[in-house]
């Protein structure tokens, strides 16, 4: 893959880094790739034209507009960005407000941590959108946040603007606190049974209905000119439930058992709304027709089960079987690590259930987009959609596939070559800072032992260090740049995904590189491992 600017020819890495990705106004064309559009078939030697962050054209032999940045992706695969429908990254502190049975007053969007290295790590795995959910400690949990992994932007910059709002529900062991014993003196939290869980949800909607009525009455009376009416109390907990009742907020419900899911669907229908997705949904295959009839999506793991009693009745055919019955199915991660290879998780549905390539990839692209109500914007490579794209060196369903370049809104947010190249700078800056600190310590000691010494900093030393510490928002390799990967193997593009050539494996998965590809900054412990946490 080479990058050149038609007319100007060379675009240096430094220029791009300084300007922050490719400027949005720029026109970019990715050429000679195998374009996996997902919704409109696969285009061999295809091109994608990006203009102002949107996909402008998709096809063969597209005309290169003058001034466009040209990215030659010969031998590479271009897919839509991966969408993770169940994530807990990028949240400061806990993702669970586990103290109360109904925590709908909370919202993870209010505590986003745009500096969480997990964002960058997942981005490097091709993820461009994540549905960041509250944990599953409560029958009714907190509000979610659909984010784009725009590493380097602030919390507002992460938000997927216009994505429909949602809320987390949870059924089963976690909300009934099966595996949590409070310390002595603390009474156990209601509910303690599956009956109690559904009761809590029902009661919350009864309250929400009443609450809505009290506000409707108040507004009616004030509109009619009545004065001095006592205003109802604004309840942060019930506001989002009213939105659910009005169909303005999606319910993403953590669920395992078929009976509970049926129960929740019936309850929703009774109150006049629909569940948008069941998360985990390990027994979804048992009730796929009912799910399809309700219109609920299933967001599941590829083959992860047995980690608690209610997760035993799972089969890896789950995703395929739900799909066959007309349920929109996505494969999610629930883990900052697993998110990095969701493409491979999707590939497992080909083995278990015989999904074809497009169906498999859909489960981490267009299907989660539909489930999150953002399919008009992302999830496939079509003109008019956001240019959220991943260049893979192999077919993304191959175990040898490694994302090379990841675009969001037409900007390059991750580039493998650039990342590898930047690590030396990171080391250099670290060393310089450590030495500067040591020098300062030494000086203060010297000063104490001999107070007459002048307190002057060597200006050269200071300057040298400043020069090495540019004002990047956060770590290491945070500056996206353009890749110049190895000359591609022309055979790679024609390979059937599950059978790559051994030669390729050597080239791409040599131990050395694999070790290097570990991000230099150790990620903080994943939120899913929070004490007493319960996201599964």
């Amino acid at each position: 893959m080479r990058i050149s600017r038609s007319g100007i020819v060379v675009l240096s890495l430094a220029t791009i880094a300084a300007a922050v990705p490719v400027a949005a106004q720029d026109t970019v064309i990715i050429q000679n790739a195998t374009v996996l559009t997902i919704t409109k078939g696969t285009i061999e030697n295809g091109s994608v034209l990006i203009h102002n962050g949107k996909i402008a054209e998709v096809g063969k032999n597209l005309k290169v507009p003058s001034g466009a940045t040209v990215i030659d992706a010969s031998g590479m695969f271009l897919s839509p960005g991966i969408i993770d429908c169940h994530s807990h990254i990028a949240v400061e502190d806990q993702v669970n407000e586990g103290s109360v049975a109904v925590s709908s007053m909370t919202g993870v969007g209010e505590a986003l941590d745009p500096e969480d290295p997990d964002i960058y790590h997942d981005l490097a795995g091709g993820v461009t959108v994540a549905n960041v959910l509250h944990g599953s400690a409560n029958p009714i949990g907190g509000l979610n946040a659909v984010i784009k992994l725009r590493w380097g932007k602030d919390a507002h910059g992460l938000m997927f603007e216009g994505a429909p709002p949602g809320i987390k529900f949870a059924l089963g062991e976690n909300p009934k606190r099966s595996n949590f014993t409070p310390p002595p003196g603390i009474p156990p939290r209601y509910p303690q049974s599956r009956m109690g869980v559904i009761d809590v949800i029902r009661q919350a909607f009864v309250d929400a209905r009443e609450y809505r009525k009290s506000w409707d009455d108040y507004r009616k009376r004030t509109a009619a000119g009545e004065k001095n009416i006592m205003p109802p109390r604004r309840d942060v907990k019930l506001d989002p439930l009213v939105e659910v009742l009005e169909g303005k907020r999606y319910v993403h419900s953590h669920a395992y058992r078929a009976d509970e899911m049926i129960q929740l669907m019936r309850l929703a229908e009774e109150f006049g709304f629909r569940i948008r997705t069941f998360q985990h949904v390990l027994e979804g295959y048992r009730i796929a027709p009912e799910m399809a009839a309700h219109g609920v999506g299933g967001s599941t793991f590829s083959d992860w089960w047995g980690y608690k009693a209610e997760a035993y009745e799972a089969i890896p055919y789950n995703a395929a079987m739900m799909t066959q019955h007309g349920v929109i199915v996505s494969i999610n991660s629930d883990s900052a690590e697993e998110a990095r290879h969701l493409n491979l998780e999707a590939a497992k549905t080909m083995k278990y259930g015989g999904m074809d390539e497009t169906q498999a990839l859909s489960m981490v692209t267009i299907n989660p987009a539909i489930q999150l109500g953002i399919d008009k914007r992302v999830g496939s490579i079509e003109p008019g959609k956001d240019a959220d794209l991943v260049i893979y060196n192999h077919h993304p369903l191959s175990v040898y596939a490694v994302p090379q370049t990841v675009f969001i809104d037409g900007h390059i947010y991750f580039d493998r070559k650039k990342d590898l190249a930047a690590r030396a700078d990171v080391d250099k800056e670290r060393k310089a800072l450590l030495e500067k600190e040591k020098a300062a310590e030494k000086k203060s000691e010297d000063k104490k032992s001999d107070e007459k010494k002048p307190d002057e900093k060597k200006p050269e030393e200071k300057k040298a260090i400043e020069a090495q510490t540019p004002g990047a928002p956060t770590p290491d390799a945070s500056k996206p740049a353009v890749a110049k990967p190895d000359a591609p193997n022309p055979d790679a593009s024609k390979q059937a995904p599950p059978k790559p050539k051994p030669a390729d494996s050597k080239k791409d998965y040599s131990k050395k590189e694999d070790q290097k590809s570990q991000p230099p900054e150790p990620p903080k412990p994943p939120v899913t491992a929070a004490p007493q946490g319960s996201q599964q």
Binding site: E97, V108, A111, P183, I229, R233, K237
Partner: protein, 558 residues
């Protein structure tokens, strides 16, 4: 005329004896309340902060106020004249956020607890968890807190003190750092309302997460707004109406909103600072942000929001107990390197900022850390302003404090040189026009052998049985000790201590319940220490161990 003076002298004498007696009883030996209250400092370099420096001028104080300042002002005959040749007079320093004078943490309601016996864990915002908005620092003050003197000796005459514990710990007060009774200290009660965003509930009490805390803060603000409206409607015509519920947690919030009192909101990192903007707009308030360690990266955005901030002078440091082999991330190193540049960045962006000492236990460190900000590009006069006039403006007391101007409270600090130079000594401090001479703390005679730095466990027997105290000590290279000690009666700051050869000594004040000075002294031997403690008439043997070992061994070896 002579008659009257005589009378006054007699009066002063009587008063002096009385005050001295009281002082001896309650304050200890350093109070000098019997001195005259008319002073003139002449021939001094005067830095008024609000105006140009007067290279050789006079400040006249009378009955606690500055009555004149200038190059040549007339000196009233009753004034005690201090020749200020070679001295510099600054406004007394103002620590913008402390808990000085507040010794016992405010009682909390509704938080989580580990064992039985306490209040039930909070079950939601309606339980008002860890909320004591009604607690007023001015009402809880103790004039005999040893730290008042420690701060005063460091040149501080003024502070905002506020309860610390909980999500809404209470209301802060502007206080002067000297007075016989708590009421004497207070300059402005209920000067501020404080919010903390640190979750308090654990996993079993609400709120146990940051998202829970943010939800709670929003809910209580909405409740306060609704309460204000409902109370008004009810008061106008109670008949036939259900009465609004009485909720004392809401009143201080309503007052703060109505009077435009500063509301303090914590924000340390960049995401936290930007998040605070969102919280503020949801609450409909213009908060004063505190912490602001990473303000260097977002100074312009703070300026655009027109917010004032309090900058914590405790710059991030390498953890004392850090694993020496652990590799620190570049991010951590960058923050540590750049944090002292925050004040300079704020100044450049035009943000009003004041300094505070949270977490620093020695006033020397406060000025030393302010100097680090100067080294990182902050103008000296801006640093001084952040310790004088700016906090006064932020808390709405600039009409009486923060600069050397006629009519303002006579809070001054007199030094023998530039305030931010380490060798500079503080000669006098005036608080409310009362003169305090500063005694240099006792210095160790010999260079230290070994180090006391580290976490110590001290065991000793008392009439109440065996007791244990844990001290977190930091030793300077010259042997000076600082830190804090946790004991049966709470936590105390170590006020003076040193290691001289292998002999150590440090002291602190304990409320049990009356304030008592406790002195630990003895001999250091590797990771153990043996000696005695004395508290009033009582003394006993102590043994200390340092389970974590000598923390700076490597450093010493080099």
């Amino acid at each position: 005329m002579p008659q009257r003076n005589l009378c006054r002298s007699a009066e002063i004498l009587a008063l002096s004896i009385w005050v001295l007696t009281i002082a001896a009883l309650f304050i200890g030996p350093d109070a000098q309340a019997g001195e005259p209250r008319y002073f003139a400092i002449t021939n001094a370099r005067i830095v008024p902060v609000s105006g140009a420096v007067i290279e050789s001028g006079t400040v006249v104080m009378a009955k606690g106020l500055i009555v004149s300042v200038g190059k040549s002002v007339s000196i009233p005959p009753e004034a005690l004249v201090i020749d200020g040749k070679g001295m510099t007079v600054y406004p007394g320093l103002f620590d913008a956020l402390t808990d000085l004078g507040l010794t016992s943490p405010a009682a909390t309601a509704g938080g989580a607890h580990e064992g039985g016996g306490g209040p039930s864990p909070s079950r939601g915002p309606e339980d008002r968890p860890n909320t004591t908005t009604w607690t007023s620092a001015a009402d809880e003050l103790k004039a005999d807190d040893k730290r008042l003197e420690t701060w005063r000796n460091g040149g501080f005459t003024t502070a905002v003190t506020a309860p610390k514990v909980g999500l809404f710990p209470g209301q802060g007060a502007v206080i002067d750092l000297a007075g016989d009774r708590p009421g004497d200290l207070v300059v402005k009660p209920n000067a501020s309302l404080h919010i903390s965003l640190t979750p308090t509930g654990g996993f079993f009490g609400f709120p146990g997460s940051l998202i829970g805390v943010i939800a709670y803060v929003k809910q209580i603000y909405y409740d306060a707004a609704q309460d204000a409206q409902a109370q008004q409607i009810y008061a106008a015509n109670p008949r036939g109406r259900e009465r609004p519920r009485y909720d004392r947690a809401l009143h201080a919030i309503e007052d703060a909103t109505r009077d435009g009192r500063p509301v303090l909101l914590p924000a340390v990192t960049v995401p936290q600072i930007l998040r605070a903007f969102d919280i503020a707009s949801q609450l409909g308030i213009k908060p004063v942000l505190y912490g602001v360690t990473q303000g260097y990266a977002v100074a312009d955005q703070i300026a655009a929001k027109k917010l004032s901030v309090l900058v914590n002078l405790k710059w991030p440091e390498k953890e004392k107990d850090a694993d020496p082999d652990a590799e620190e991330s570049l991010r951590t190193l960058r923050v540590r390197d750049r944090a002292p540049g925050t004040p300079a960045a704020l100044e450049k962006a035009g943000v009003k900022f004041a300094f505070y000492s949270d977490g620093l236990t020695s006033t020397k460190d406060i000025l030393k850390n302010a100097k680090k900000a100067i080294d990182a590009g902050l103008q000296r006069d801006a640093a001084l302003r952040a310790l004088t006039l700016s906090p006064a403006e932020i808390y709405g007391v600039a009409d009486r404090l923060g600069s050397i101007e006629t009519g303002k409270i006579a809070n001054l600090v007199v030094t023998d040189g530039d305030l931010f130079e380490e060798k500079t000594k503080i000669k006098f401090v005036f608080v409310d026009g009362r003169k305090f001479e500063i005694h240099e703390p006792e210095k160790p005679k010999d260079p230290p052998k070994g180090t006391m730095t580290g976490k110590w466990k001290f065991n000793f027997n008392t009439p109440e049985g065996a007791q244990e105290a844990t001290a977190d000590l930091t030793m300077d290279t010259d042997g000076t000790l600082s830190g804090s000690i946790v004991h049966q009666y709470g936590t105390s700051t170590i006020s003076s201590g040193y290691l001289s050869a292998d002999k150590f000594s440090f002291s602190f004040s304990v409320n049990m319940p009356r304030p008592t000075d406790v002195i630990f002294s003895g001999t250091l031997d590797g990771n153990t220490a043996k000696g005695s403690l004395s508290a009033g008439d009582f003394s006993t043997e102590i043994t200390g161990t340092r389970p974590g070992g000598r923390q700076v061994e490597n450093q010493e070896g080099r």
